[in-house]
């Protein structure tokens, strides 16, 4: 540096004035312009690419949304298997069999079987042996809940044979149990007539239970 200290501020101002006097060389100005133009066009290309990507993603999302909302084809209703005139709606078919016509044997529950001609729905949990006849059922063994669809007065009553007597009804829900030793029935809904040969016919209403022998 110099022997006597120089004023830094003054020298720096002189230098700055010289730099300002230089201005912007035309070559520099052109280069800056060119670089800016290149960068801005690249950015606009990038933004346009981004816009198209966004549109593609949106379209894909809409297609997926539409596909997920399209109702699936309904599976064709499969009729429950028919065994001895009974449609087995619930139950393991491995334990359902019939050895003679109109005779249904259900070894293990739970099960639910419907006899459409008779208008009866039978359900239970244990082994049941039941036989369908012209105007009714014969419960040979087991415990089942029997729901008899309501019938018009012009239609014949449904008959359910037990070892002790006969049930006649136009619509009821009853639980019927039949074993070799005896049986019982309980009415849950509606009413029925219990006919014992050689004895007075009894009207059974909900809450009533009849046991035999």
């Amino acid at each position: 540096m110099t022997e006597s200290p120089q004023s830094f501020s003054k020298a720096l101002r002189e230098a700055d004035a010289e730099l300002r006097a230089i201005g912007v060389p035309s070559a520099s100005a052109a280069r800056i312009r060119r670089r800016l133009a290149a960068r801005t066009s690249k950015r606009s290309r990038q933004s346009s690419r981004l816009m198209w990507c966004g549109l593609a993603v949106f379209a894909a999302a809409m297609v997926l949304l539409f596909a997920s909302n399209t109702p699936k084809r309904k599976r064709a209703a499969v009729a429950p298997p028919l065994v001895a005139g009974f449609h087995i709606e619930t139950g393991n078919l491995a334990f359902v069999y019939s050895t003679i016509p109109n005779h249904l044997m259900l070894d293990r529950g739970p099960f639910e079987a419907v006899h459409e001609q008779l208008g009866v729905r039978i359900s239970g949990n244990g082994p049941v042996s039941i036989h369908a006849v012209a105007h009714g059922l014969v419960l040979l063994d087991g415990t089942a809940q029997i729901r008899v669809m309501r019938r018009n007065p012009t239609q014949p009553r449904l008959l359910i044979e037990t070892s002790y007597g006969r049930v006649e009804t136009r619509g009821t829900v009853l639980t019927l149990s039949q074993t070799r030793a005896g049986g019982h029935l309980t009415v849950s809904e509606g009413s029925l007539r219990f006919i014992v040969p050689g004895a007075q016919t009894r009207l059974v209403v909900p809450g009533d239970t009849i046991e035999w022998p």
Binding site: S9, A11, L19, G23, L36
Partner: protein, 181 residues
């Protein structure tokens, strides 16, 4: 000596146009680049490019701005600090030395100011200061900005600006300059 950039654009409600802004301010920004880059025109080109690229990116946010020139000045100062700091890093110095740019940068101020030895020495002394001190002292001495304005432009506290000025002057004094404001 005053390099304060006054905006010629009075369109606070609309987005400033790039062309108008560039035409009005690019010479001043280039001058700032020469000043902070020690007279290196390539350095000034880079700074000008970066400043106007920032302007393009932020243009849609500037419609409420009253003084675009002041905004560009602030951006230029901050970008200059960033560039100077990057150049001061060990890796950057290695790269520059490899491509022999250090010599070119050092020679540029001397070649531009070859007739004025003291001015050239002052520019070289300024370049030896840390980046923040370079910029703060330039703003203080050359643009005659107040410490408050410098602090606002560089997002610093006034106390820190005062400290940078004091340290810069101390360094210059230690180099034999009469450093006072």
């Amino acid at each position: 000596m005053d390099v304060t950039i006054q905006s010629s654009m009075e369109e606070p409600a609309t987005e400033p146009s790039f062309e108008a802004c560039y035409d009005a301010h690019h010479a001043k920004i280039f001058h700032l680049g020469l000043r902070y880059g020690g007279g290196n025109s390539a350095w000034a080109e880079d700074l000008t490019h970066d400043v106007f690229l920032t302007f393009v990116e932020k243009k849609h946010e500037l419609h409420t701005l009253d003084d675009v020139g002041a905004w560009l000045y602030r951006v230029a100062s901050n970008l200059a600090i960033s560039r100077l700091r990057r150049e001061g890093s060990f890796w950057r110095r290695l790269t520059l030395a490899r491509f022999a740019e250090v010599e070119a940068t050092g020679a540029s101020a001397a070649s531009l100011l070859e007739d004025q030895e003291s001015a050239s020495n002052a520019m070289a002394a300024l370049r030896k200061l840390p980046p923040k001190e370079q910029i703060v002292l330039s703003m203080k001495i050359l643009d005659e900005k107040s410490q408050k304005d410098i602090a606002a432009s560089l997002s610093m506290s006034e106390g820190y600006v005062s400290k940078l000025i004091r340290r810069g002057l101390e360094r210059l004094s230690s180099q034999g300059w009469e450093a006072s404001l």
